[in-house]
């Protein structure tokens, strides 16, 4: 860890010392997380799991403390996608009842972490998770016990009086046996901030959780999300992330298939430009027989943008008849754009089907000429081909309402970049 990041980690640790007695939940769990952070520090590029994503720029932000009152959250809330569903709105990591609409159906329970905090230890190799455990103040507790419909979970982030802030919401989502929930998670904001959420997700037997993320953080923001999902027998966790915003974003999704017949989808797309860095890291642990995992991640990178995809699939000895598939594709729109793609398959069972692939390319000159020869101006033609490339990734989002939300976000982002 660089000396500068060391200072940043120290800053978080002293913040914890100051807040320790006021923070909700089990102090022993927080203390252990603080100890881990003190020992390991913030992730460095010397660690294999963080090789391509350098957090050094985080050290340039002096995070203000404590987080003061927030102005202008209503204006940010107005930018949220308008869909007819209950929504839970957090501002700088704290639940805002006044911006939320919690008229939830029977079969769905929603509450604030701060009201009933239950903190559990996270795996030791999750440094951002440790930071979250140490400093989490609030979050969403969501429980689906029947057909729970669609819920929007929104994070609005903003600097406070021009100073950067850091917030670490802790979300817990449980889908009971046979229950189902569609969660649209949106992050957006203004100014400089660090949004470091942790999701603890449990999908019980025959349960279904569709988790669609739309990451539209401010251009000065850092977004470091870690998802821990466990899927029981015949359960399905259907995850999709669309990364459009933030100066540096990492979405690390870890899913464990713990019961026979469980299915996990970890799909995603990112469209980045300028100096943006977007990292999608997945870890799928096949710990039971006859489970399936599917991953398709597509990247569109222009300017000096960098995309990172790290996909690990671990197949335990017991996980016979595993069916795993992983594909990462990148479209580079400028000579200075870069993609780092790293598949990692560790297979200890002998009767499995696992495949992975990666492609990198530019826009097809023939296709571009075909469109232009029909009168379509070059920028518009490029936009059409980029959207066509991404539409295949978006096909993974079966819910037409959510897909439309993602399409609109892509259109707006492309128009903004052009």
């Amino acid at each position: 860890m660089s000396a500068a990041l060391q200072t940043t980690a120290q800053g978080f640790l002293s913040r914890y010392e100051g807040l320790r007695t006021q923070l909700p939940g089990d102090a022993a769990v927080r203390d252990r997380a603080a100890e881990a952070l003190r020992a390991a520090g913030l992730p460095s590029v010397r660690q294999e799991a963080w090789r391509y994503t350098n957090l050094r720029p985080l050290a340039d932000l002096p995070f203000a403390e404590p987080i003061g009152p927030v102005d202008g959250a209503e204006a940010l809330a107005a930018r949220l996608p308008q869909i007819d569903a209950p929504r839970l709105v957090m501002v700088n990591g704290r639940m805002r009842q006044d911006l939320s609409r919690l008229d939830v159906p029977e079969g769905l329970r929603v509450s604030a972490f701060a009201d009933a905090p239950t903190l559990a230890d996270l795996p030791a190799d999750a440094p951002m998770g440790a930071l979250n455990t140490m400093l989490a103040e609030d979050g969403a507790m969501i429980e689906a016990t029947g057909e729970a419909g669609t819920l929007v979970l929104a994070s609005l982030g903003t600097d406070v009086a021009g100073r950067a802030v850091a917030f670490h919401p802790r979300h817990r989502i449980r889908v009971a046996s046979g229950a189902s929930l569609v969660l649209l998670e949106v992050s957006l904001g203004q100014g400089a901030y660090l949004h470091n959420p942790v999701f603890e997700i449990d999908v019980a037997e025959d349960g279904l959780l569709v988790h669609v993320r739309l990451q539209q953080e401010s251009a000065a923001a850092f977004h470091l999300a870690t998802v821990f999902a466990e899927v029981a027998k015949d359960g399905t966790y259907d995850f999709f992330t669309l990364n459009l915003g933030a100066r540096l974003a990492r979405c690390e999704a870890r899913a464990r298939l713990s019961g026979t017949g469980a299915i996990v989808y970890l799909n995603g797309a990112q469209m980045l430009d300028g100096q943006q860095l977007g990292d999608i890291t997945t870890v799928v642990a096949h710990d039971a027989p006859a489970c399936a995992s599917r991953q398709t991640v597509k990247n569109v990178l222009s300017g000096h943008a960098r995309g990172v995809f790290q996909g690990r699939i671990d197949v335990a000895r017991v996980a016979q008849k595993t069916d795993g598939y992983q594909m990462n594709q990148a479209l580079l729109l400028s000579p200075d754009a870069e993609i780092d793609s790293k598949p990692q398959l560790q297979i200890y069972a002998d009767d499995v089907k696992c495949s992975h692939g990666a492609t990198v390319g530019e826009l097809d000159a023939n296709q571009l000429f075909y469109l232009r020869s029909r009168g379509v101006p070059e920028m518009e033609a490029r936009g059409i081909l980029v959207r066509a490339f991404l539409s295949e990734a978006l096909d993974a989002v079966a819910d037409q309402r959510l897909r439309a939300v993602l399409e609109d976000a892509l259109t707006a982002r492309w128009a903004e970049a052009a």
């Binding site: 000429f369 469109l371 020869s373 029909r374 009168g375 379509v376 518009e380 033609a381 059409i384």
Partner: protein, 251 residues
Amino acid sequence: MLKIENLSARVEEKPILKGLTLSVAPGEIHAIMGPNGSGKSTLAHVLSGREGYEVTGGSATYNGVDLLALEPEERAAAGLFLAFQYPVELPGVGNANFLRTALNAIRRAHGEPELDAVQFLKLARAEMKRLAMPDDMLKRNVNVGFSGGEKKRNEILQMAVLKPSLAILDETDSGLDIDALRIVAEGVNAMRGPEFSAIVITHYQRLLDHIVPDFVHVLADGRIQRSGGPELAHELEASGYAGVLSEAEAA
């Protein structure tokens, strides 16, 4: 009016067009025939602005405008249309959306109002009916999974919708069975009029039985070697390029 004067062009250092001269007046259909490698497709690509072709001499103007200085999309807005010999597949792009985007881009360039989805579909369906194309061709991705004949008909549909004033058909007849050939020819004939001209590039006289040209030119070694009326196509069919070209040399 298309005026090509003494046009020379090369591809990767290799000269292909070597001083080609051709004028196409409004309302005229010109057929260009010639052996493989004579420069037929290069002419089509240079006129439509494809990258990779270097113009080394001469000029091409359309209605007085220097065609060679325009971007491909500006040429389309000026009224030029190229029916591709090998239509390009666009996975993830719907045919209807593609066609409407193109039409509206050209309408925008002309200062005309854009068509909404309903107006467009009405127009496209009418043209498709005339071309005996099934409705579902609009719903499919552009040329993806189309048969050879469907791809060529899709080119003609685009032409019918975009209504160019000058169409270049680059071996549109290749790979077509006789029924598809007739449909394609009818599509072109339907456009004929005082405001429409076309250059029909073909190997075979067959297409010219259906699209009867006003002029036939024989292109070989990068230049027009002989010009004549529709009867020249029949002469070519009877005696082959070698026969017709040696006659041109002798004359």
